[in-house]
């Protein structure tokens, strides 16, 4: 018997002994491992909506989450709640003529944002398109595996949450578990989402992903610097999505999103749309801009250049 099994057995015996004892006392019994754990299950159940929490509610919740994550992943995990920066609205740019379809952004994102490795969740999807068919997604190839990129006759289009100005996903959520923050980022409260997946049906960009099983991340691959509304480990049964790396970009001085840093050809651009001097504004002004599914009037803050 290895150590883990031994430990499990001991815990089991302990709880059983305890359970029998309380049964003898005539009390109703929940065979939960310890009083602390029971209390935290209870606290989690009654946790309020993020935007309804007071400062002290929030502090308690963060402390509980940090304790739970640290225990589960055997390292110290921080959960921040850095608020939006005044006067900032984030915009993303992607140069279609530069993207080579290598998908390093996809995996950079997975590592930074603690996406489940098994089953796999990817917030970014890169599709391969034929030059002569243009951006018609009907001809998009989702699974391609060339020995070398880029391939002649093709171009590539990474698709992730477009942080819509008029997001259909937040409109439909029955419990307001998802909303737009002041800096334009659409977020999800993973502790409030009921997992109805209505938002997934409403998103025109396939940007929302559901935790069909309990997400699995090896302890040593966890990124312990997390944000409550961003990359903290998610529970099973809730929806998650790209947040423009809220845990990085809201820092002051801000950092770039992980996908941008991972891109080997500099196809990705990021900045403050409200600042006329920012790189993203210059690009929008000087380059040809393509908006994905512009006819749906979702008004993305994600701009494709070509």
């Amino acid at each position: 018997m290895n150590d883990g099994k031994k430990r499990d057995k001991k815990v089991f015996q302990l709880t059983r002994r305890k359970a029998l004892k309380s049964l003898a006392a005539g009390a109703a019994v929940l065979a939960l491992p310890s009083r602390d754990a029971a209390a935290s299950v209870w606290d989690a159940f009654f946790q309020k909506h993020f935007r309804r929490m007071t400062r002290s509610d929030l502090e308690k919740v963060l402390a509980r989450l940090e304790r739970e994550y640290s225990q589960e992943y055997a390292q110290e995990v921080k959960v921040g709640v850095t608020p939006p920066i005044e006067g900032v609205k984030y915009g993303y740019g992607l140069d279609l003529s530069r993207c080579i379809g290598c998908r390093r952004c996809v995996y950079g994102c997975v590592e930074e944002n603690n996406q489940s490795r098994d089953p796999q969740i990817h917030w970014i999807r890169v599709v391969r398109l034929k030059k002569e068919k243009g951006t018609d997604l009907h001809y998009a190839e989702h699974y391609y595996n060339p020995s070398q990129v880029p391939e002649p006759g093709h171009f590539y289009m990474p698709i992730q949450c477009q942080q819509c100005e008029k997001p259909p996903c937040t409109k439909v959520c029955p419990v307001q578990a998802t909303w737009t923050e002041k800096d334009g980022i659409v977020v999800v409260d993973y502790n409030w989402c009921i997992g109805c997946r209505y938002c997934m049906a409403a998103c025109p960009y396939g940007a929302r992903h559901f935790n069909w099983a309990k997400p699995r991340i090896p302890n040593d691959s966890l990124n312990p610097q997390t944000h409550y509304l961003g990359n903290r480990p998610r529970p099973v049964g809730v929806v998650e999505k790209c947040t423009y790396c809220i845990q990085r970009t809201r820092q002051q001085p801000g950092r770039y999103p992980a996908c941008l840093e991972a891109c080997p050809v500099g196809a990705r651009k990021f900045g403050n749309l409200l600042d006329p001097e920012s790189e993203i504004r210059k690009l929008i002004e000087n380059k040809r801009v393509y908006i994905l599914k512009e006819e749906l009037n979702t008004q993305p803050k994600f701009f494709y250049f070509f």
Binding site: F45, H49, R52, P119, R125, V127, D136, L137, H138, A140, H142, I159, P168, K171, V172, C173, P174, V175, Q176, A177, W192, C193, I194, G195, C196, R197, Y198, M200, A201, A202, C203, P204, Y205, G206, R208, H209, F210, N211, W212, A213, K214, P235, V236, G237, V238, V239, L296, N297, T298
Partner: protein
Amino acid sequence: MRNVFSFAKGSLVLVGKGSKAYYIWVFSLLALISMGVLAYLYQMRNGLIVTAMRDQVSWGFYISNFTFLVGVAAAAVLLVIPAYVYHWKPIKEIAILGELLAVSAILMCLLFVTADLGRPDRFWHLIPVIGLLNFPQSLLAWDVFVLNLYLTLNLVIASYMLYSLYHKREPKKSFITPLLLFSIPAAISIHTVTAFLYSGMGARIFWNASILAPRFLASAFCSGPAFMILVFLLVRRYTKFQIKDAAIHKIAELIAYAMFINLFLLGAEVFKEFYTASAHLVPMKYLFFGIDGHTALVPWIWTAMLFNLTAFFIFLAPSVRKNHFMLVVGCVLIFIGVYIEKGMGLVIPGFVPDVLHEIYEYKPTGIEVMVSLGIWAAGLFIFTLLLRIAIPILNGDFHIAADGRGSHIGDHLFLVQARAADPEEDAGHGPEASARSDP
């Protein structure tokens, strides 16, 4: 108050009493329910990964069943209108059974939605004030609201009427008539809101059609009443409750109109999509012909089409639909036809191909089927118990005792051997009538 208590007690006694057939029926349902519960527990433990749903097809069999059952529930109005707006006596006597069906169907709807939730433990987030309902923005919030309203309305109406009959008094008109009238728009609203839930999304071209709500209503007025006719035929055959042919024939006639409108609206939509042949066509093409060799739904939808058309012709000719054998065939065909069309045939093509045009073919897993069977069994179980109480009341077998305190229970069997044919009523009903007089 004491009367309410003895009524409740009497009802409980009734539910536990019955013939052998009744026990067999109830216990088979209970067995199916337990199987469903076990399957659901398995799903709770492992997450929705045990279903065939994935990010590409994020709603599946559960929501398909939900959509169909909302229609069944809405169909009670088809009885309420002739009974209480036009005061047509033969239907008035049975309208209450329609309301009980609505109650059971809504409960099934709620169960199906719960089975579909990733976090059923957080259902309380949907309760106004203590939770945070996104009202009036989210159509799902509206749906929660109207479904519960309609459930409450039908529960109140049915229990008040039965309670009055139990006391052998006329229901108070001033109380019940407004509720009944209000239940008509409420029934229409549950189905309209459910249709809007789909048609309000620009991202899903298959659903994003203004014709969707009328189509929902038309098909609802076929499937619900078809189920009701089947129930009526069974009830009058296996219980002591009398239901007049005239009532059944009237409902069959209404189904014929509804089916015509249903097929017409479908035709209108099919024409627009195929004649235009724009990129919008893809989901419909997937549904009817398959795309790129993906054809999972094709056999199903053609079966549905065939069933609906056949049923339409059966119901079209009065002489045919008055033949009770043909009537049963027609009702079964409609029920299955609409079940496929409004269930998988509506929900899945909304997701295939997905918004990035990927094709993921969905086929429910065993767990999904077992959970769904369990929920259907639960619905039938509830409906059976409700009938078990309602029918003796309507029969006069269950009423307040002469002393005005306890209750009188005359009926101990409920399900009985097929009644000997009443020669007058059954004259000339073909094979059904002769089968019925068999020992």
